[in-house]
């Protein structure tokens, strides 16, 4: 057992209001430099929708992640076997048009326009070329556009859905959508790291944050097609790749990452997970339908004396073990089992988990009467507006049972709490629902507390960085703000 610690995340999608505050907080801190304007280390997508970059989940096009081949896994894009032919031109690298051309407006024209009958306008100009452009795409271009034939209908997650289900998703007055905020998943088996020819991309041993060493990156760009989540980006100005750094300068000083800190809906949770690094290779190699459970099994119980002993022997600091015991992520993922990793079928073993949204509308109006679509204790999830298959394509590699489990449990908690606070539901029935959902009163209270009443300290249990022990962490993060921000000791100047 090789016990390591990983700073891990849970996004509670039921609480996401799609305000993009996280994206803006991130952009203002990290990606407002030349060459990074188009990058959104944190972005929020509307699902169903095509996302950013457009149709990033279409691995037929981008070749992200791992694929199983002859009993082992290999990178779908450029691994060791294909680095030599592909290094000059990566056949699957997304270009700027797959994201969008960043723009600003020529505001000075508002002042310099000659007097006339019309209001002067500030025309958009490209932030790359400085020339006038017609804006055709943006990072959240499909925002709220569910049901649209251009965006929602082209969501790669609709694969495997019946025509009826697809029709239902876009039917007038029935269409439905939810928000899907995304950052780097800081995977356990990151394909970006495995694809990096220079060894610049690496996983930090202490906390599992995946970083690009800007000094070592040589711009071979393998990581960009390799990441199935398209969360490594190419800085066209410096000729280096950049990605979400999980705000490690903030984490090291005990602050939540900017996107977490600014989250209006308080959907985000951050905490340490202990996991068994010995299992990474085996788990990533399992058949698709076993991935979710095996991935969860890698996460170790921080209260188990055996685990604690192994963690200590492995150099995991006591403060981190303590932090892991209070981790909200552990509760959501492991204790309650209601948080699922995105697209586990990419086999990168992502360490960001989502609580699937309770979107399915459980009741409908029949005339003026509320019609409950219940069969037995639970509403009929199969008849929900968002097909189970769609959620399963996103969160459980197509296994609808996993998604149904999380929704059932969330539903039972709701009914139970309604029985407690409103009282129009029979408490006995509510408790029966809890049992049927593999839950208990105690657990329901726990879920309710951490979902609805959680404080800042409960949502973000940040382990101490033990900076005094870590040479590289001794640098003052603010010293590098705006100039570079992530550990560079010289100006990030473009080479000749």
């Amino acid at each position: 057992m090789d016990v390591r610690s990983q700073i891990s995340m849970v996004f509670h999608l039921d609480k996401c209001i799609g305000c993009h505050t996280c994206s803006i907080a991130c952009k203002n801190i990290w990606t407002d430099r030349k060459g990074t304007e188009y990058m959104w280390w944190n972005n929020v997508e509307t699902k169903p929708g095509t996302g950013y970059p457009t149709r990033w989940e279409d691995q037929e096009k981008y070749k992200g992640g791992w694929e199983k081949l002859n009993g082992s896994i290999r990178l779908r894009s450029t691994g060791k076997s294909r680095i030599i032919p592909n290094i000059f031109h990566h056949p699957h690298q997304p270009g700027m048009d797959d994201y969008y051309e960043p723009w600003t407006y020529k505001y000075d024209e508002l002042f310099t326009a000659p007097e006339g009958n019309d209001q002067p306008t500030a025309r958009p100009i490209s932030m790359v070329t400085g020339k006038y452009i017609d804006i055709e795409a943006g990072p959240n271009w499909d925002d709220d556009l569910s049901g649209s034939p251009v965006y929602a209908a082209n969501d790669p997650n609709l694969k495997g859905l019946t025509e009826e289900q697809k029709m239902q998703l876009s039917a007038i007055e029935r269409l439905v959508f939810f928000y899907f905020p995304r950052i780097c998943n800081h995977c356990l088996n990151p394909s970006c790291v495995a694809s990096c020819p220079s060894g610049a991309l690496h996983k930090r041993g202490e906390d599992g944050i995946v970083l690009v060493d800007q000094e070592r990156c040589r711009g071979w760009r393998s990581c960009i097609p390799a990441c199935p989540y398209k969360k490594t980006y190419y800085n066209w100005q410096t000729g280096k790749s950049e990605k979400c750094i999980l705000c490690f300068p903030r984490i090291e000083t005990g602050q939540a990452p900017a996107c977490f800190h600014s989250c209006v809906g308080r959907i985000r949770y951050l905490g340490v997970l202990l996991y068994d690094a010995d299992k990474i290779e085996d788990v990533a190699n399992l058949p698709s339908d076993e991935l979710i459970d095996a991935h969860r099994d890698m996460i170790l119980n921080p209260h188990d004396p055996e685990v604690i002993k192994a963690a200590k022997a492995n150099g995991v600091h006591d403060s981190i073990i303590k932090s892991a015991q209070k981790s909200p992520v552990y509760k959501f993922v492991k204790e309650w089992g209601i948080a699922l990793p995105p697209h586990i079928e990419y086999r990168t073993l992502p360490m960001l988990f989502y609580v699937p949204p309770m979107l399915p509308v459980m009741t409908s109006m029949d005339g003026n009467a509320k019609k409950n679509m219940c069969e037995g204790l639970f509403p009929d999830f199969e008849k929900s507006r968002v097909p189970m298959e769609f959620l399963a394509n996103l969160f459980s590699g197509g296994n609808t049972g996993k998604v149904r489990y999380t929704l059932k449990k969330q539903m039972a908690v709701r009914q139970y709490r309604r029985a407690v606070t409103v009282g129009d539901i029979d408490m006995e029935a509510a408790k029966k629902m809890l049992v049927a959902a593999d839950s208990s009163v105690e657990e329901a209270e726990g879920i309710y507390n951490l979902t609805s009443l959680c404080t800042f300290e409960e949502r973000f249990v940040i382990p101490p960085a033990n900076r005094e022990e870590a040479i590289q962490m001794m640098q003052d993060p603010l010293e590098h703000k705006q100039s570079v921000g992530f550990g560079l000791l010289e100006d990030p100047e473009r080479g000749a």
Binding site: V128, K131, R204, G205, R218, W220, Q237, E469, A470, A496
Partner: protein, 243 residues
């Protein structure tokens, strides 16, 4: 130098003795210094992200072509006698000459596409520096003189071994003997001057990316984990486990 030394001799001395040493010293000193002091600037500076279509037709023929051509030159430099032996059979000589020439044509086609791409694509233009244009010009000059030599002064793979290899070795051995090169045709001389100019410019331009090609990648473990602290030292004493 004898008394009847002409300007021509001085020029020969400069181009084929002084320039090579300027080139080699600049190359080694500046590449190392740049790597140590400004290591960040070592990058392929790829612009594939900005323009993804012509890029293929520019980069692929150029790089494969130049690898063949450079490989041929290095082979002639390192193994001149073996090369002569190989060429003793005309069929093998033709194969070598033709593959070298095809490599040169690939390089030229690639470079022309590079020039077209950098002139026509608005985004790529924004990341094209003066240094890029200097590199492109020198490379174009070099490829053209090289292809001219291949056509009009053919069987270069043989005479390279006889005259160029000894000349280059005389430079390496700090005993420059320009007698090997002075009788060569003008175009060949220009090609030699071009080569040393490229070596001189090399450390100041994006060409340095050739020095950081990722060779350890093929032999390293798939995943990279970096520890910033000593995994044993971090343990607090009271919890130390005796094995």
């Amino acid at each position: 130098m004898a008394e009847n030394t002409t300007l021509f001799d001085y020029l020969n001395l400069f181009w084929f003795t002084v320039l090579p040493y300027i080139a080699l010293f600049t190359f080694f000193l500046v590449t190392i210094q740049r790597y140590r002091g400004k290591g960040f600037t070592y990058s392929s500076l790829s612009s594939q992200f900005l323009e993804n279509k012509v890029h293929f037709w520019a980069m692929v023929p150029f790089h494969y072509g130049i690898l063949v051509v450079l490989g041929g030159h290095i082979l002639g430099f390192l193994l001149p006698n073996q090369l002569l032996l190989w060429n003793s059979n005309p069929m093998r000589l033709y194969i070598l000459e033709i593959s070298g020439f095809v490599g040169g044509v690939f390089t030229l086609v690639g470079l022309i596409n590079i020039i077209i791409r950098r002139l026509t694509d608005a985004r790529t233009k924004m990341v094209t520096s003066a240094a890029d244009w200097i590199v492109i010009s020198v490379l174009l000059f070099q490829i053209c003189t090289g292809l001219y030599t291949a056509i009009f002064h053919s069987w270069g793979s043989s005479w390279f071994a006889a005259s160029m290899a000894p000349y280059l070795w005389s430079i390496v051995k700090f005993n420059p003997t320009i007698a090997y090169v002075t009788p060569l045709p003008l175009m060949v001389k220009l090609h030699i001057i071009g080569a040393f100019s490229i070596i001189t410019l090399f450390p100041f331009t994006r060409l340095v990316h050739a020095l950081v090609v990722p060779n350890p990648y093929l032999w390293r473990k798939r995943q990279v984990v970096r520890w910033h602290w000593d995994r044993k030292k971090i343990r607090t004493p009271e919890f130390k486990i005796n094995k």
